[in-house]
Amino acid sequence: MTGATAALTAIPPYLVVAVASLLVLALPRAVGHGLGALATAFVFAQAVLLGDGGTGAHLATEFLGFDVVLFNVDPFSLLMGVVVGFLATAAVLYAYGSDAPKWVTSLALIYVATTIGTIYAGDWLTLIFFWELMAVTSTLLVWQYGGAAVRAGYRYALFHGTGGTVLLAAVVVHFANAGTFLFSATTGIHPAATLLAAIGIGINCGFIFLHSWLPDTYPRPHVAASVFLSVFTTKTAVYVMYRAFPEGGMWLAYLGGFMAVYGAFFALLQYDPRRLLSYHIQAQVGYMLAGLGLATAVGEFAVTGGFAHLFNNVLYKSLLFMAVGVVIYRTGLEDIREMGGLWRVMPVTFLVYVVGAASITAVPGFNGFISKGMVLDSAHEVHNYVLLLDGGLLWWLLVLGGVGTFMSFIKLGYYVFFHGSATLSPDDATAFQTAGMLLAAGACVFFGVFYGQLIELMPFTEIIRSDEVYFNPYSTSHLTESAALLVAGFVGFFALKRPLGWLAHHMRDVDAVLFPAAFYAGRWSVWGVTEGWAAVDRATMRFVAGAKWVAMNPRQLLANAGVDAEIRAGIGRSVLFLTLTAAVTLFALLLG
């Protein structure tokens, strides 16, 4: 390790970003945002530089008598560091261009800092510490916007508070069984904590039925805040999922498959652009989990696919949030049916949207095509429940999710940028919004064309490059698969436009039941606990009052019972007691 690398490993990147977060508040807006972008760019640069021989457990120390690693550098945390640092830089520029108040950027940066802390944690104790902080900082980021975001923020906090507690329980169980917090000492989390860890992390991943915070929260805060929120919490959760279950499991893969379909389907029914994108987060996380879940069944290739998809998703998902954010910022509208024909007046935004949509739908030439192809290839090797075309259930689920993704992005683009005549004529994106978007869009195209660079950043590079695997995304089969998905998407959208519109009015997600249920359950339990406790309290107070009366009026009690005696021992009785005690003691000792 060279001196420069050693120096880099001594700087915890989250501290740099946290300091920047404070400076943003203190300094003038432009300077503060500039420093924020520099701090996140430092995270990016540090991760890139450390990729060359900087791996290892740095800043290992003891906390409360436990071994902890505060800066754990390995291929997985590095790739997260690269993409989080890069995207956060773009997002800070975008926030500056979107008139984000200082508080938004500051809270977003502290949220990024906790994310980076989670990523670079080398043990479960450090991880859960930053994990809980992430929940707090992201909630604050939502609340900052006020209005409808406050109630949604409460629900968000409830979900993540629960998730954090469950994960904390998992970590405790893990420690009780394994005797250590260190990642390096065990393979994933101890089996005894499997269910707790799956649920705790699963809430942040947006598992089906645990996902309703996602579309509930992300459409509500400032558009710039949404860009930050959309990529860090869920993607960090996927990363932590890998830390907990490095060997994957078919349950995870199938859960991922169903998430892809579920998320894409509900996305299709949305008219709020950010809500639509939020459902796609769930769908895309499904692809990642499918890849990670196949770690044992298929091998490192599937894990790499999952992580590559994670990496790409951070880029294009935030890009899409930035693009619709510009539209919302310029028009003030949050319903795509009220927009339309904007491609003429917002050409830059339209172009960026197309890049993002092409990436997420896996059009050849864009980064999503590479990674989604890897996941689909992996799923194709699983032959449980074989359906048509020699494809197993998992593969078909992922393909179906892919079709749904095409349909919903055709829908989004159609409604926002075409769909009738242009009644609005807003300005295009501001300069800094454009800068942020171009950074992300450029990365999407770059990694789609020069996919070798993407593989280079991933773990297991050697295996992917080796002859047995020899991954070639631009093979004929991949291209036909993609074309088929594209055609199915177009046909599906325009054929099903009306039925989907009808469904959108009638089909509600689980939150329609979940939120009222939780509300009334909470209300009734509060009432029950309060009333129950009040009853206990009354009984106790009555008992105490009775005991107090007896204690204060022992003679009166005896008199009421008809006993008329002096209870205080006089001289004679005292001597009697003494003699009796002596006698009893003697007997006990001599005969006992």
């Binding site: 205080r568 006089g570 001289i571 000792l589």
Partner: protein, 535 residues
């Protein structure tokens, strides 16, 4: 040379006890200076002895040059030095209190000096019969002191203690007689070897001897159910006497119990006789619970803390019965700490009684406003008695409970766990009665305006519907004619607290808290004694 201090510390107070009476024929008020000078000498001697013991180790003195086991021996070791120091300091502090609030006569100071000499004698003697003599000196002077204010109630309390205490002392003497029959010696160290050589730990004579001795001590310590002399004695005695008696008399008896149990009969005797340790533990447990419960029931402040002593000495006796090194350490710490805390508590009550006529719980209402330092010190000492850290009260209870749990873990017995549970329960009871005192001091509102108004125009608040402020209001109304501080009409109640004893009280409270940090110090200082006993 230091060993000469031992006989001097006993003889000088006893001889000086004649001076107030003798000089009193010619001078008035000569008692206090004589007592003060003598007590200061005892404090100095105690400090020198403690310094010697804790730096150079235990030492002894043969009285009159007669070698033990025939001659009488005075011994200063780690345990007796601690008690000696406590006796000297508390005696001196009490003198400050009695100077301010009485009693002040020459007779009182003679008895006081005799008592001090007796207490020091109990702490230092190394001879079983000599121990009886000193216990009797302590007992007789205590009987006299309790009756010092010449009221009927205190005369009865004194008589009760006299009769019961004499029977108890006789039981001890019978026990010593049995042991003498079995071993032919009275020197403590010699007895402990002769028990093994001439008898055995299961010899009926030895067992019966120990049984009589324990019952005799139980009475002197005032364990339930032979405690009945103690609440009357504490309640009826003059306040300064209560302070001295509550802090020291039962304390030296409990010290004697520890000394006789561990230095004379030894821990092997206890191990060989399960019945007696179980008996001690049962009696202590009952004592802890009954004392605490009875304390909660009291409304008279002195009586309340008298019953509290029954419970606290139950814990010390339990520490003896557990026969565990940690528990015994806790017992000794609690012995010293309890002496200090009870001195402080009774001193504070005496000051509030002298300053504001407060004798019952309800009389304390809002006194924290008038007497912030005395009330604050009382609150601190009370919480320390509950066992809230950091305080010496916590340390003692903690070690005892820890020893109980540990011995239960070692033997698998339920007794240890049960005892720990009893200690916890008594902590709650203690909290209950201390909380009553603190609540009255700080939170019971007294409407001074209405009270003052009421004195000038009684008709205004004659109706039962006009309860100015619950019980507290009516209590003040009752006290209005007797001694309400707010009136300023009653000359008998000055409405302030004398300064010198207040300083002593605050120092006692601070020391109580400060000793709470001295757990390691106690362990180091007492370790030689404990490791010798448990060798």
């Amino acid at each position: 040379m230091t060993d000469v201090l031992l006989p001097l510390s006993i003889a000088v107070p006893i001889v000086a006890a004649t001076l107030p009476l003798a000089l009193g024929l010619r001078y008035d008020d000569v008692g206090w200076p004589v007592a003060a000078v003598t007590t200061l000498g005892v404090v100095g001697s105690a400090a020198a002895v403690a310094l010697e013991v804790y730096t150079a180790g235990p030492f002894d003195h043969e009285l009159g040059g007669f070698a033990p086991p025939i001659g009488i021996e005075l011994v200063a070791d780690e345990l007796s030095a601690a008690v000696f120091l406590l006796v000297a300091l508390v005696s001196a502090a009490t003198l400050v209190l009695s100077r301010a609030i009485g009693p002040r006569g020459n007779a009182f100071h003679s008895a006081y000096l005799l008592l001090t000499g007796g207490l020091v004698g109990v702490a230092l003697t190394g001879d079983l019969f000599n121990l009886f003599v000193f216990l009797e000196i302590v007992g007789l002077t205590t009987y006299a002191l309790i009756a010092a204010d010449r009221s009927g109630a205190s005369a009865y309390a004194s008589l009760k203690y006299l009769v019961v205490g004499t029977v108890g002392a006789s039981l001890y003497l019978v026990g010593v007689g049995y042991v003498f029959l079995a071993t032919g010696t009275l020197n403590m160290a010699d007895v402990s070897t002769q028990i093994v050589e001439q008898a055995s730990y299961t010899d009926p004579l030895i067992r019966a001897g120990y049984a009589f001795i324990v019952v005799g001590f139980a009475l002197k310590i005032a364990l339930f159910p032979v405690h009945s002399w103690q609440p009357d004695a504490y309640q009826r005695a003059p306040d300064a006497v209560t302070t001295l008696v509550a802090a020291l008399v039962s304390t030296v008896s409990a010290y004697a119990l520890i000394r006789v149990s561990y230095s004379v009969f030894t821990v092997d005797f206890l191990a060989a006789n399960d019945a007696i340790t179980t008996g001690i533990l049962v009696v202590s447990g009952v004592s802890i619970l009954a004392g605490s419960a009875l304390a909660v029931m009291q409304s008279d402040l002195k009586r309340m803390f008298a019953y509290s002593s029954v419970a606290q000495f139950g814990m010390i006796a339990a520490a003896v019965g557990i026969a565990d090194e940690t528990a015994l350490l806790g017992g000794v710490v609690h012995l010293v700490g309890h002496g200090l805390m009870k001195f402080g508590l009774f001193c504070g009550l005496a000051l509030l009684a002298a300053g504001y006529g407060a004798r019952r719980v309800e009389d304390l209402a809002s006194l924290a406003r008038d007497a912030p330092f005395a009330a604050g010190a009382l609150a601190v000492l009370g919480l320390s008695l509950v066992g809230i850290p950091p305080s010496v009260g916590f340390l003692g209870k903690w070690y005892i409970a820890l020893g109980a749990v540990r011995s239960a873990g070692a033997t698998g017995g339920v007794v240890g766990i049960g005892l720990a549970a009893v200690i916890l329960a008594s902590t709650l009871f203690t909290l209950a009665y201390v909380a009553r005192v603190i609540e009255q001091l700080y939170f019971a509102g007294v409407d001074r305006e209405a009270a003052a108004h009421g004195v000038t125009a009684p008709g205004d608040r004659g109706g039962p519907g006009d309860g100015t402020d619950r019980d507290a209001g009516s209590a003040v109304a009752d006290g209005g004619d007797g001694g309400n501080a707010g009136d300023g009409v009653d000359a008998a109640v000055p409405g302030t607290v004398p300064t010198a004893p207040l300083v002593v009280l605050v120092v006692a409270a601070l020391v109580t808290v400060g000793l709470g940090f001295a757990g390691a110090g106690f362990e180091t200082l007492l370790d030689p004694y404990l490791s010798e006993v448990f060798a």
